[in-house]
């Protein structure tokens, strides 16, 4: 990997960690918080693409494993992987991969601003909502024993927030694409 790629991966991991310092919101009916870190995961996929995005998230998970308090609310350590958020947490990897891959495939250099932002938005929704919620829900069911319906309806509460985050991530990704293109897209 080029040095620049290595630094990009590290700094986006740092952005994900830094977003964890915004206070999470804990809901009463599902033991998974609403957190700004999801925005960081979306950004990693949309700005860096699938491969570097995955490396960024993997680096964050490495810090969690080692015990540094890098998750929202200052959490970290192996205990987190035995907790109810494990599905979402591990799900960040396929989520960022799918987000990045879709963005690489459907975003084009010549698209107008609105179309391009729309493509980024779609990639974020498919990867960081559709794929992520599926794995996240599975994790909640396994750890807490909540039935599918309850775990899934709990996840519905994340949708408004995550749609806003996808909107923000798409707008930012579009601005980056215009001024500092990094995403390995075709037909630039």
């Amino acid at each position: 990997m080029s040095t620049r790629g290595l630094v990009l991966v590290s700094l986006f991991a740092a952005v994900i960690v830094a977003l964890g310092l915004l206070p999470p919101i804990t809901l009463g009916f599902i033991p998974v918080p609403i957190t700004a870190q999801t925005l960081g995961v979306m950004l990693a996929g949309l700005v860096l693409g699938a491969k570097r995005g995955v490396l960024s998230v993997a680096l964050v998970l490495l810090l969690v494993i080692v015990g540094l308090p890098v998750l929202s609310g200052g959490r970290g350590g192996l205990a987190v992987f035995a907790g109810p958020t494990v599905g979402y947490l591990v799900g960040w990897l396929p989520a960022v991969f799918v987000t990045g891959l879709i963005a690489e495939r459907i975003v084009r250099g010549r698209q107008g601003a609105i179309t391009q932002t729309g493509c980024f938005f779609a990639a974020a929704v498919l990867g960081c909502i559709l794929v992520l919620y599926a794995l996240g829900t599975l994790g909640v069911m396994l750890v807490t024993g909540l039935p599918l319906i309850k775990a899934l309806s709990g996840a519905l509460a994340f949708i408004p927030g995550d749609l806003v985050k996808a909107g923000v991530a798409a707008t930012v990704a579009r601005a980056v694409q215009a001024g500092y293109p990094l995403l390995p897209i075709r037909g630039r």
Partner: protein, 209 residues
């Protein structure tokens, strides 16, 4: 961080000097309300920076020590236009004001540039433009020439000198403030001197050893 002090600043051009960490930036943040005083009050035109924050919004212009952090939108002109949204509902009027400000500063060529590609000197000029376009009553410059070559430094000096507003200039570059009306010298969070440039500078050089 700063010790209590009572000051009334009326002069058009005021310099602020002192060692790294002496409290210059903290002082500037108090004046424009970014930091609330832990005791006492800061008043501008009789308005309190804490209680009347709404009314004062946008009346104090501030050029940050690191201007890169100050530009919010990706393109210089876009950023300037963005800063006007609360003040001017009409987009065409905003655009005209942006163009006029860029021309007045002789940096029309920077308008279409991407902010994150600018050199240090160009960034300092772009931050100045974004601040001037909102037409504040008082302007604070926090080390405005630190990254400039002689030519851009002169450009900045000229731009600063031509402003009709009251200006407070923080600088390590003593030549910049030597013909100001009044100079404040900070040391360890205290106002050590409040005098003419010559006296304040002499004092400063003594401290620096």
């Amino acid at each position: 961080m700063l010790e209590p002090l009572t000051l009334s600043l009326q002069e058009r051009l005021i310099g602020v000097i002192g060692l790294n960490g002496s409290g210059k930036t903290s002082f500037a943040r108090l004046i424009n309300g970014l930091t609330a005083p832990s005791q006492g009050h800061v008043r501008l035109d009789g308005l309190d920076t804490v209680a009347d924050a709404e009314a004062l919004m946008g009346r104090v212009g501030y050029i940050f020590q690191n201007p890169a952090n100050q530009i919010i939108m990706p393109i210089v002109a876009e950023d300037m236009e963005f800063g006007l949204r609360n003040r001017e509902p009409d987009k065409t009027a905003r655009m005209e004001k942006v163009a006029a400000t860029l021309n007045a500063l002789e940096i029309a060529h920077l308008g279409a540039r991407r902010a994150h590609e600018l050199s240090g000197g160009e960034l300092q000029l772009a931050a100045l433009a974004a601040m001037l376009v909102t037409d504040p009553d008082l302007i604070i410059f926090d080390e405005p020439t630190s990254q400039l070559d002689i030519r851009n430094r002169r450009l900045m000096e000229r731009a600063m000198a031509a402003l009709p507003q009251q200006r407070i200039v923080i600088s390590h570059d003593l030549a910049l403030i030597e013909d100001f009306e009044r100079v404040l010298l900070f040391h360890d969070g205290r106002l050590l001197a409040d005098a003419t440039p010559a006296i304040a500078i002499a004092h400063y050089q003594e401290i620096a050893g």
